[in-house]
Symmetry: C2
Subunit: 401 residues, 2 copies
DNA sequence: TATTTAGTTTGTTGTTTGAACCAACTTACA
DNA sequence: TGTAAGTTGGTTCAAACAACAAACTAAATA
C-alpha cells in the first residue's frame, strides 16, 4: 500500500502522539524538532489530539536557556481511558487496571484452583465490569490476556496447563466488550514489558530475548522493537530444543525442558529427598544450608540454563538476554554462577545476561502496553510507559526495579 | 521521523517503482489498483520515472475482458545500469554482472590460490573496470561482496578463512568507484537470493532461514522480509552452538560445526580411510557403493544436521528452512533421510525443510539484489528479480531451479 | 454505434510549509 | 526599578504541492 491522502495526516498524528507518549511532558517545539515537522503542523495536530482529549497541556516548562518564552508542556491525558489486563496462571488469575500512560490503579489476584475455562472467563467478565475508573473520557480502551501457551492471531493453539475446551477467550471477551482484545503468549508480553517499561538500560535496545523459566521454558523475542512470533506463533519455544545427540535412537530424543525447567528441578529434589511439598523459598533455604542434593540439582540447573542461554545468544545475537525465573530470583548466587559459566564459553563481546526485574507484574504490564498500542492504533512503533504501581500495589517496592 | 512534504512523493515513487519491479510488465491502471493510488497520480509518477529512464513502455497488453482500450505495459529499463557482484571464496573469486532487473550478462570464476587480500582487491577493481556493459543510461549502479565470515556495517569483523589484515574492502571499493558498496555475510546473501529470486513457492514467505553447510555452518535469517543480523552481525552463527551437556567440564564444550560441518565429515572419512584427497563427488560415489565408513559418517552427518534444523525451526519457527550443502546436493538420498528423521521428532505442523536450488550462484544473485536495493534507495521493501543466467552461463540448466 | 477500459487533462481538496506575527521570558543596563 | 534588546515558543495565513475526482480522449470489443 502506498500513501494516499488520508494516511498522511493519520501517520503524522500518530507520530506526534507517540512523541508525547515517550517524551513525557514535552513541548510543541521539541516535537517539531524531533520529527522534523514544521511547528505549525505540530500545532495543528496537537489541536486535533487535544479536541479528542487524548492529550492535555500541563503548565509551563523551564526556559533554562538565555531567555525566551517558556514552553507549554504537553502530556498524555491519563484520564482518557484505561486498559484491563489479565494473566491466566495455573491456579490463579491476575488482573491489573492501567491508565493510558501505564500507571496501575488496580491489582488483584484471584485463586482459580479447580476452575474450568468457563468459570475463568466468567470471572474475567465480572472483573472488567467492576473495574470502572471514574472521570474517564472514554472508559475502557482495551483488554489483554497473557496465556501460558502458544497463541497465534489471538487464538490459543496450545495450552499445556489449562484445558481450553475449544473455547475462544478472544471471542467471548470481544462480544462482551466492544474494545480491542489481545490474547498473547506470556513470554512475549514479558518481553514487551522489558521493552516498554524498563529503565534498566541507557542504550536503546533493538533486539532482546526474555527467557521465561517456569513450568516450561519459553523465550519472548523482540526483533527490531517488535514481538517476533514466527509463522505459527511458535517461535521461541526453546524448551522443546533437543540437546542430546543420541544418534542411534532419534525417537528417544528428549526436550530440554524435561530436565531444565523449574518444575523438573523441584520434582528431582522432591524425589531425591522424598518430600511431598516444596516451594522456591524452601529450596533457597536448603541451598543456603549447603544441602548436597539441592546444591547438586541447582548446579545442574545452572549448567542447563547456561547452555540454553549461550545457544540463544548465538542464534539471535540480541542486545541482551533477560532471565525470568523464581529460582534465580530467590537464590542470589545463581545469576553470577550462570554468568561466570557463560563467560567461560568461547566468543568475544558476549551478550549481556540479566535478571528480569519486576517479574511479578511483567506480563500484566506487557499486556497493558500491547492493549494500549492496539487501542491507539499505534501498532508499528514502540511506546514507553510510566512504571507506577503504588496506587494499585501500595506495599510493592518500586525502587527495586 | 514523520512524513514531511518531500518524503511523501518519494515514498510513493518508490512504491510505484517497486510495483513495476515485482509486477513484471504491468499497466498504470494495475499499479493504481494495487497501491490504492489514483490513476492520475500513477501517471504523474510514471512520467517522472520515465524521464529518468528508470522504466520504459513495452507495447500493449491484452484486453482479455469484454472490450476496452488495451493497457500499455511498463517494465524496468534493463539498460538503466548494472551491478557487479563478488563472492570471495577460499581459493577463488566469483564475479557476476547483472542488469537492473537481475539478468546476468557476465560471470567468471578466478582462481585465487595463494592470493593475499590486497591481490584479491586489486583483482576486484580490475574486474569492475573491465565489466562495462554497453548502452547503459547510468552504467555501474553498485557493487556487492559476499564474505564467508561475520560482517557488521560493511566491515568484516571475523574472517576465519581469509586474512583481512585490517584492510577494509568497503573503503577500497568505495574510494575507487563512487557507487553504493555492500559487504555482506554469504549466508545472508543466500537467504536474500532465496527471498528475491526463488520461484519455488506460491505462498509468500515472511520468515525463512537458510542453513549454509560448508567449511562451517551458518544461518542466513530473513525475518519479516528483511535480513536479521542481530546486534553485531553475529546472528545465525549456529555452527557455534553447543550440544554436548558435559556438566562437569563446561570449558571443554565443543561447538557443533567441529563435527557436523562438511569439512569435518570429509576429514573424518579421509582419516578413517587413510586418504590424502577427497571431494564431494568421490564421497557420493563411495556412498553409492555402500562403503561402510562413508555410510556411517554420512548417517551421523544427517543426524547432526537434523538436530540443528529441528532446534532452528523451534527457535525461529520460519515458513521454511533451506539447506545449502554440496554433500546434500550430491547425494540424492540425504535430504529425504534428514526429512524422515526430522519428522520423527515431536511436534505438529512441522516447518518445511527444502534443498536450496541454484546454490552455485546464490550468493552472487543475493548480492545483486542487495546492491540493487541500495542503488534504488528501496531498502525497506522486498523486490523480485529476473532469474536469467543464460547470457552469462550458457551451459547452466536453469530448468533445474 | 454502444459499451468498456486505459490513460490524460484540469480544476479541487487537504496537508505541509515558511514567513510574519504575537506572547512571554531573560538579560543588560540606565 | 524600569525599559529595551534579544531569544524562544506558539499561532495565523497565504503559498506550494501532492493526491484526488471528474471530465475528457483513445482505443478496444461486440
Amino acid at each position: 500500500m502506498a500513501l494516499n491522502k488520508q494516511s498522511i495526516r493519520n501517520l503524522n498524528e500518530k507520530s506526534v502522539l507517540r512523541q508525547i507518549f515517550i517524551g513525557g511532558p514535552i513541548s510543541r517545539i521539541q516535537i517539531s524538532r524531533n520529527l522534523d515537522l514544521n511547528k505549525s503542523t505540530v500545532s495543528a495536530i496537537f489541536n486535533d489530539l487535544s479536541d479528542r482529549e487524548l492529550v492535555v497541556e500541563m503548565g509551563q516548562g523551564e526556559s533554562t536557556q538565555v531567555g525566551g518564552r517558556k514552553p507549554v508542556m504537553i502530556k498524555v491525558n491519563p484520564k482518557y481511558g484505561f486498559t484491563v489486563n489479565f494473566d491466566i496462571g495455573f491456579h490463579h488469575l491476575d488482573v491489573m487496571g492501567n491508565y493510558l500512560e501505564g500507571t496501575a490503579f488496580f491489582y488483584q489476584r484471584f485463586d482459580t484452583t479447580g476452575f474450568d475455562i468457563h468459570q475463568i472467563i466468567a470471572l474475567m467478565i465480572k472483573t472488567v465490569n467492576s473495574v470502572g475508573a471514574a472521570d474517564m473520557v472514554q472508559g475502557l480502551l482495551g483488554i489483554s490476556v497473557a496465556v501460558h501457551g502458544i497463541v497465534f492471531n489471538n487464538k490459543v493453539t496450545y495450552s499445556p496447563f489449562i484445558d481450553m475446551e475449544d473455547v475462544s477467550v478472544y471471542d467471548e471477551l470481544t462480544t462482551q466488550f466492544e474494545v480491542p482484545v489481545i490474547i498473547e503468549n506470556e513470554a512475549n508480553l514479558v518481553a514487551t514489558f522489558q521493552r516498554d517499561f524498563s529503565r534498566d538500560s541507557h542504550r536503546t535496545m533493538n533486539n532482546i530475548v526474555v527467557i521465561s523459566i517456569h513450568k516450561g521454558i519459553g523465550a519472548g523475542i523482540i526483533i527490531d522493537h517488535n514481538i517476533y512470533r514466527g509463522e505459527h506463533g511458535e517461535a521461541g519455544e526453546i524448551g522443546r530444543s533437543i540437546y542430546t545427540m543420541n544418534l542411534s535412537q532419534p525417537q528417544q530424543a528428549e526436550k530440554i525442558e524435561n530436565y531444565a525447567s523449574q518444575d523438573a528441578i523441584l520434582e528431582l529434589i522432591k524425589q531425591r529427598k522424598k518430600l511431598k511439598q516444596l516451594n522456591f523459598a524452601e529450596v533457597a533455604s536448603l541451598y543456603e544450608q549447603h544441602d548436597s542434593v539441592v546444591v547438586e540439582a541447582i548446579k545442574d540447573f545452572c549448567s542447563y540454563i547456561t547452555t540454553m542461554v549461550y545457544n540463544t545468544a548465538i542464534s539471535f545475537n540480541p542486545d541482551a538476554i533477560y532471565l525470568s525465573s523464581d529460582l534465580i530470583e530467590n537464590i542470589a548466587e545463581l545469576l553470577p554462577m550462570i554468568q561466570a559459566e557463560y563467560n567461560q564459553l568461547p566468543g568475544e563481546g558476549k551478550t549481556d545476561i540479566r535478571l528480569l526485574k519486576g517479574a511479578k507484574f511483567a506480563s500484566l504490564l506487557g499486556g497493558c502496553s500491547a492493549a494500549t498500542h492496539q487501542a491507539l492504533g499505534i501498532t508499528e512503533q514502540q511506546l514507553k510507559f510510566n512504571y507506577s504501581l503504588k496506587k494499585a500495589v501500595p506495599d510493592f517496592d518500586e525502587q527495586a526495579i
